[in-house]
């Protein structure tokens, strides 16, 4: 099962950083050079991303392209990269959005160009790093490091209220992730006796597996609670808190219902590039975190709190959609639509069942493409008019037909019309919800999302594009330039490619889905799922766990410990 | 022989007096003198205990008192210099006036 080591992911992660240094060296007034260098960096990143995707073999071991180095061994941390199916797909998405993000801001950002592009590149590295990390602490480091460039992107290059929004974004996320850090440390100490602990994901998971099994047996039947191991007992007692901390951190990022209010502000204020990355990739970190960490590490708690999380997801779906209906600001509306869409992702994942989970995974990609594209396209309009309210537009279709076509296509993707990518994801999520252990009404309620989705998205289309041209300034708008066309085209094409030929991607996702479901199900043995032990245990390339050097008092040492003196 | 407790009582009273002086007096110099009083209360306690314990292991109370006296002297040197500088900038030694920086 041992995959051979490959340095490819290092390039995926750190090439943008290298280009960031390159950009730093360029003179600040050479805007063209800076943009070009950044674009080049992103394109190189795209190539490596595609390469990684192509190199990933769905039939192979769980984590591939592994690379591991000793790093901060003292703390139990190592530099361990590797991707599974979901991660590699998200890597591809991130890599794809990279160049588009640069292109989208080609004319939008004219001041402090250098800082802007450095931020973009650093952000790219952080995102890739978070996706490729196989060490939980390494993931956390990248997860948090993402905040910094994003903070600058919103705070420096955003609109009027940018500083407040950036601050809110930063602090909101920080609260959650710091609590998660504590939980992570807690888990670390639970995971084994001194000297065997490590933040390595597989080690952490494998060490907790037995305890998790005991906990779930106990939670199902009190008879099993009598002779729990110490770890299991601790996990039983404190697991909910730890899971809660993990869930909170990721729920804020997703964002799920009551902790979502940072998103509209951040999106509204962020520049196009910021919104694109935020919607396209950053939000996925939340769902990805649930998938990779929160659920497999605490399967019993995941089951126990499934209903709560599902309720929040359902509220997210319906409530997010209702919020959209109350908005005037288009960016805010798209932001709330993200709440709704990400609710689908979460719901799918919470079905703990193959179809739903697959749908969730696919929906993550879809949301990246379609919401990313929505922000991109609206950004083009915003660049022309610098207005965000729906009432400021109207009849745009007349002036900008190609733009309108693109926007419509993305709209249909967003409301999951069959044939577009959104449908496949949403269908699978809903199917999964029905097939899961959740009550039927949950599925029916979630399905109402398809109605609301159409209602608000078409409302936007109606208000912005159709009807008579109400403002003179809108009549003379230029249609897409070549650059803009080229920027939007890949996403528009992807909508169809992913809608009509999803199978190659689904096949890459499939092993990850299977394992995710199996891992969650080990906490609730289900007659339908035969969770083979082999599937549950993680197999990764192991480095010898660095032992925390114990006090090796040399016998020949003549000095006594002071305490011995009497 | 005067019991150690009496010594201790006296030193405690001195200490409290010094502390009250620091808290209540308004003149910087007097406050400083109150601090010296507290230090001397410690000295008194050291001497008293030294007598009780006799010549025991480690630094004895007597020696300690000497060190404290030396430190107090150094403190006086630095402290007075600072108080002079303070007087030069403010023309007053009332501590209630010394509150440019607050909140």
């Amino acid at each position: 099962m041992n995959a051979s080591s490959s340095p490819l992911l290092n390039y995926v992660v750190f090439l943008p950083m290298a280009f960031a240094f390159l950009v730093l060296l360029l003179p600040g007034n050479e805007k063209g050079q800076i943009r070009f260098a950044t674009l080049l960096g992103m394109l190189v990143n795209l190539v490596t991303g595609i390469w990684a995707f192509a190199a990933f073999n769905p039939a192979g071991s769980e984590f591939q392209l592994e690379y591991r180095l000793f790093w901060l061994s003292d703390l139990g941390i190592s530099y361990h990269l590797g991707v599974d199916g979901l991660a590699v797909a998200l890597v591809l998405l991130t890599a794809l959005l990279g160049p588009l993000v640069v292109l989208s801001s080609w004319r939008f950002v004219e001041e402090r160009v250098k800082e802007f592009h450095v931020c973009l590149l650093v952000l790219q590295t952080a995102m890739m790093g978070a996706l490729c990390s196989l060490d939980v602490m390494l993931f956390y480091i990248f997860f948090e490091a993402m905040l910094i460039p994003m903070y600058f992107l919103i705070g420096v290059f955003g609109s009027e209220e940018r500083q407040k929004a950036a601050l809110k974004f930063f602090l909101y996320t920080l609260v959650g992730s710091l609590l998660m850090l504590l939980a992570l440390l807690w888990v670390f100490f639970l995971s084994g006796p001194e000297g065997t602990r490590s933040f390595d994901y597989a080690a952490l998971y494998n060490n907790l597996m037995e305890a998790n099994r005991e906990v779930s047996l106990c939670m199902q039947n009190n008879a099993h609670c009598s002779n729990l191991s110490a770890t299991a007992a601790a996990l039983l007692k404190w697991g909910p808190w730890m899971f809660g901390a993990f869930a909170l951190a990721f729920a804020i990022k997703v964002p799920m219902f009551p902790v979502h209010t940072w998103l509209p502000d951040a999106h509204v204020q962020a520049p196009v590039a910021g919104s694109m990355v935020l919607a396209g990739v950053l939000l996925k970190m939340g769902t990805f975190g649930f998938w990779r960490y929160a659920m497999p590490l605490f399967p019993a708690q995941a089951w126990a709190y499934q209903n709560v999380l599902v309720a929040l997801s359902l509220i997210g779906i319906v409530y997010g959609a209702l919020m959209c209906l109350a908005q005037k600001d288009i960016k805010k509306l798209i932001a709330y639509s993200s709440v709704s869409h990400m609710g689908f992702c979460m719901l799918g994942m919470l079905t703990f069942q193959a179809e739903g989970t697959m749908g969730a995974a696919y929906q993550m990609l879809n949301h990246g493409v379609s919401t990313g594209a929505l922000f991109l396209l609206f950004g083009m309009l915003y660049e022309r008019r610098h207005l965000r309210n729906m009432t400021d537009y109207g009849g745009i279709a007349k002036a900008m037909p190609i733009f309108t076509v693109f926007f419509l296509i993305i709209t249909f993707s967003s409301i999951a019309v069959p044939g577009t990518n959104g449908f496949v994801g949403e269908f699978l999520v809903l199917l999964g919800t029905f097939k899961s252990n959740l009550p039927l009404w949950a599925g029916i309620l979630a399905t109402t999302g398809v109605i609301f989705g159409a209602a608000y998205m078409l409302w936007v289309v109606q208000r912005v594009f159709f009807g008579p041209v109400t403002q003179q300034a809108n009549a003379g708008l230029k249609d897409l330039r070549f650059r803009e066309f080229v920027t939007a085209l890949p996403l528009v094409l992807l909508v169809f490619v992913m809608g009509l030929k999803p199978q190659p991607i689904l096949e890459v996702l499939s092993p990850s889905v299977k394992r995710y479901v199996a891992r969650v199900h080990q906490a609730k043995p289900n007659p339908e799922s035969n969770t083979a032990r082999e599937l549950l245990r993680m197999h990764v390339r192991e480095l010898p766990t660095p032992k925390l050097a114990q006090a090796q008092v040399d016998d020949s040492q003549p000095l006594n410990q002071p305490g011995e003196r009497q | 022989m005067i019991p150690t407790s009496a010594c201790l009582l006296l030193s405690a009273m001195l200490f409290c007096l010094g502390m009250l002086g620091v808290l209540l007096r308004k003149n910087a110099l007097v406050i400083f003198m109150s601090v010296e009083l507290m230090l001397n209360a410690a000295n008194l306690a050291f001497i008293g205990f030294a007598r009780q314990h006799g010549n025991t292991i480690g630094t004895s109370g007597h020696v300690s008192a000497f060190f404290v006296i030396a430190v107090a002297a150094a403190e006086a040197a630095v402290g007075l210099a600072i108080i002079i500088a303070l007087f030069r900038t403010r023309k007053t030694l009332d501590v209630d006036e010394v509150r440019v920086m607050k909140h």
Partner: protein, 741 residues
């Protein structure tokens, strides 16, 4: 039969493999027109558009031909049998996850083939018509792109071999409908009408999706619990599942057969198998519900879906507004094809429908009420297109009644005939508008018979057909349905059907009345003084030719409705051509209905049956004639020329004219509620409670505490010393407490 359809020299295999071309051609046309439309120029645009649909039509003919051949049969992946008179093709997996799978599989049997011909045939005519009708429009290429796309989507719907793929077409046609209704998007009202249509359809789609998901669960449960020897427990079925997924129609057919085979309501003495239709499902998400119950729920959800697409109660409101689109679009989408998708859906899953008499009765009731209400509203409308729209709604209601009483072939026959005569009338209306400066108010038209002879004659034929005058097709299809209501033995709901029969007659009478009114006011009499143009002009040949063809078809379609053949296995009565032709399609349904004794043919013997048929026909004919006659009398003589409507009926008229205020009711009950809810939630929950109180509140509390604490930091050195002393005092007290305790 075989004699009717001589063997075709091309191999069936080739036709089977080429099924995708039927869809691909219009899709390609749409793509070409959409991307290169501007560069191509008008001529090439309509050439591409018409040719692609025409090509599909020819291919459809080939399919039709192939399906006539007795050797045409396909291998059923879900069971060892062979499906006769069908073609299928599988172009690989679309998507799969877990145990679920959907493939790009096409399936053509006689039902879909008939639809294919209607879609491509009528579609082609309407394309042709449009070349003239849209001649001067700026969005010419766009129009044909959408229209081609629509045809492609409709063909997908019809050719799909699974519910999911059918849903692609289902949503796809809705999408095109949205685009075409809002074709003239710079008119706000028109664009809103498009949105209304789409969202109403979405409500239906919600039902469709829920129904599909429940079906998946049902199949899963059946596979798990079915006893040995039933179709779903066979090995073949499991291979079929892994090959095509649970929502393939053959899978559903096997499910239906299994459920029927284990149904004990009809056979009380039979040994009880493990899986019983009325027994509760034991495990899985459906635990605690019975198979029959779930199936009924599925069908009711499908009814919601179909109501959305086919404009039935309570979701019919979008269709009249949809007339905002170009008139050929109304003809193609909102009369001939898309709106009949609901009927097609029920025909497709007829074997499931017959297993739930309750659902059938509901379908019939919904259809009947829709037919009545729409007809009543149509009475008071003055807009030529609106009247036609309501009449479409009303006719669709008839089709649903046909489904509800289990006469699938009759319902489907009505689909076909309706496609002809309604398309004919819509195109006629378009022609009228074209020749009268886009005037749609029938009160401002009149006397067009002389000025627009082709239009008027064809319209008259259409009117007679829909009214149900004897020799025309509408008579046979509609009366087949009414007859079905009278004679079908839907277990437990026979009285319901009988009641519906009478209501149906009333609806038919209404139809005759308002259609004649429409015809008379538009074409007869004198030209209204309020007309926009002093003289109307007849349209060009690309417009009149389709009218003529469609009118001819409206007449010729009677052939399908005539009871010509008498087959040996149906001794009671003779079959109509349509029934015989579709026999392979609905055979399973009929069989299952009979086996489970849920839906039986009438027990009348041949003579009783024949006399009933003839009296039924006579009644219907009489009613249509009388009602139409009264209408003609009234509008020719009495109210011609601005004469007042009797005052006593005025409020009623107003009520009907305002569509019974249903739109307003919905607005008040749902839309305003939803908007208010959204606004309220946003203002009070999101903005105020979550954001202001919880989030900013926390931040502000923290800031406030900071300022309070700063206040203690007053700069006085003695205050600081006091704090130290105080801390010391507290510490000492604490220590002393420790000592004491």
């Amino acid at each position: 039969m075989e004699k009717l359809f001589p063997e075709y020299p091309f191999s069936i295999q080739n036709i089977e493999n080429g099924l995708w071309l039927i869809i691909a051609l219009p899709l390609l046309g749409a793509l070409i027109n959409g991307v290169f439309g501007k560069a191509l120029g008008r001529k090439n645009v309509h050439w591409v558009a018409c040719a692609s649909v025409g090509g599909s039509f020819l291919l459809s003919l080939l399919v039709m031909w192939a399906l006539g051949n007795v050797n045409t049969s396909v291998f059923n992946p879900f069971s060892p049998d062979i499906s006769r008179y069908a073609l299928s093709a599988d172009y690989g997996t679309w998507f799969s996850a877990g145990s679920f799978k959907v493939s790009f599989g096409l399936w053509a049997d006689r039902l879909s083939a008939t639809m294919l011909l209607v879609i491509t045939g009528v579609g082609f005519l309407i394309h042709l018509y449009s070349t003239s009708y849209m001649e001067h429009d700026k969005g010419y290429a766009k129009y044909f792109c959408f229209l081609n796309l629509f045809v492609a989507m409709m063909l997908t719907l019809v050719l799909a071999d699974s519910l999911v793929l059918l849903f692609v077409g289902w949503e796809g046609v809705g999408l095109c409908s949205y685009l075409l209704i809002g074709f003239w998007y710079d008119d706000n009202a028109k664009a809103w009408a498009g949105r209304k249509a789409f969202i109403t359809n979405r409500i239906g789609d919600f039902g469709f999706l829920v129904a599909s998901f429940l079906l998946v669960l049902l199949v899963t449960a059946a596979v798990r619990e079915a006893p040995q020897g039933t179709p779903v427990s066979s090995y073949r079925f499991s291979t079929g599942l892994s090959e095509k997924g649970p929502l393939a129609f053959q899978s559903l057919s096997a499910l239906a057969t299994t459920l029927a085979a284990t149904d004990t309501t009809a056979k009380p003495n039979q040994e009880t198998p493990a899986l019983v239709m009325n027994r509760d499902i034991e495990t899985g998400p459906l635990k605690g519900y019975s198979y029959a119950g779930v199936l009924t729920a599925v069908l009711l959800f499908f009814l919601l879906g179909a109501a959305g697409k086919s404009a039935q109660l309570p979701l019919y409101v979008w269709l009249p507004d949809a007339m905002a689109g170009p008139t050929p679009v109304s003809a193609l989408i909102h009369a001939a094809t898309m709106v009949t998708a609901g009927v097609y859906l029920f025909c497709r899953i007829s074997y499931l429908v017959v297993l739930s008499p309750f659902a059938m009765a509901t379908i019939a009731v919904v259809g009947c009420l829709t037919a009545l209400i729409a007809a009543l509203i149509a009475f008071a409308q003055d807009d030529i297109k609106k009247i036609l729209a309501y009449s479409t709604v009303s006719q669709l209601g008839f089709m649903f009644m046909g489904i509800g009483c289990g006469l699938f072939w009759a319902a489907f026959l009505h689909v076909v005939t309706h496609a002809f005569f309604k398309a004919c009338m819509f195109l006629g209306a378009g022609s009228v508008m074209h020749g009268n400066g886009d005037e749609t108010n029938i009160k401002r038209l009149g006397g067009l018979r002389r000025e627009m002879p082709w239009t008027s004659w064809t319209f008259l034929i259409g009117t007679l057909a829909i009214t149900g005058i004897v020799p025309l097709s509408g008579f046979f299809s509609k009366d087949a349905i009414l007859f079905g209501l009278e004679t079908q033995q839907l277990t437990g709901y026979v009285p319901v059907l009988h009641t519906l029969y009478w209501l149906g007659l009333i609806a038919a009478a209404c139809t005759a009345f308002y259609m004649v009114r429409l015809y008379v006011l538009t074409f007869e009499g004198k030209r209204s003084p309020l007309a926009k143009l002093p003289h109307a002009h007849e349209s060009a040949w690309p417009m009149t030719l389709p009218l003529v063809v469609l009118a001819a078809l409206s007449v010729l379609a009677i052939a399908h409705g005539l009871p010509l053949l008498s087959l040996p296995h149906s001794p009671h009565h003779s079959q109509t051509l349509m029934e015989a032709y579709l026999f392979p399609v609905f055979n399973v349904a009929n069989q299952l209905g009979a086996d489970t004794q849920k839906l039986l043919k009438t027990g009348l013997d041949k003579t009783e049956w024949t006399s009933l048929l003839w009296t039924g026909w006579f009644k219907a004919w009489l009613i249509a004639l009388v009602s139409g006659g009264i209408s003609a009398l009234l509008y020719f003589k009495l109210w011609r020329g601005g004469r007042k409507f009797p005052a006593i009926l005025e409020p009623l008229r107003r009520f009907a004219q305002n569509k019974f205020f249903v739109d307003e009711l919905y607005e008040l009950l749902f839309i305003e509620r939803a908007k208010g809810l959204a606004k309220g939630l946003y203002r009070y929950v999101d903005a105020f409670f979550v954001d202001r109180v919880a989030v900013h509140g926390t931040a502000q509390t923290v800031g406030f505490l900071g300022r309070v604490l700063c206040w203690f930091q007053n700069g006085n050195v003695q205050a600081y010393a006091s704090a130290i002393a105080l801390a010391l005092a507290v510490g000492l007290t604490y220590a002393l407490l420790q000592v004491l305790s």
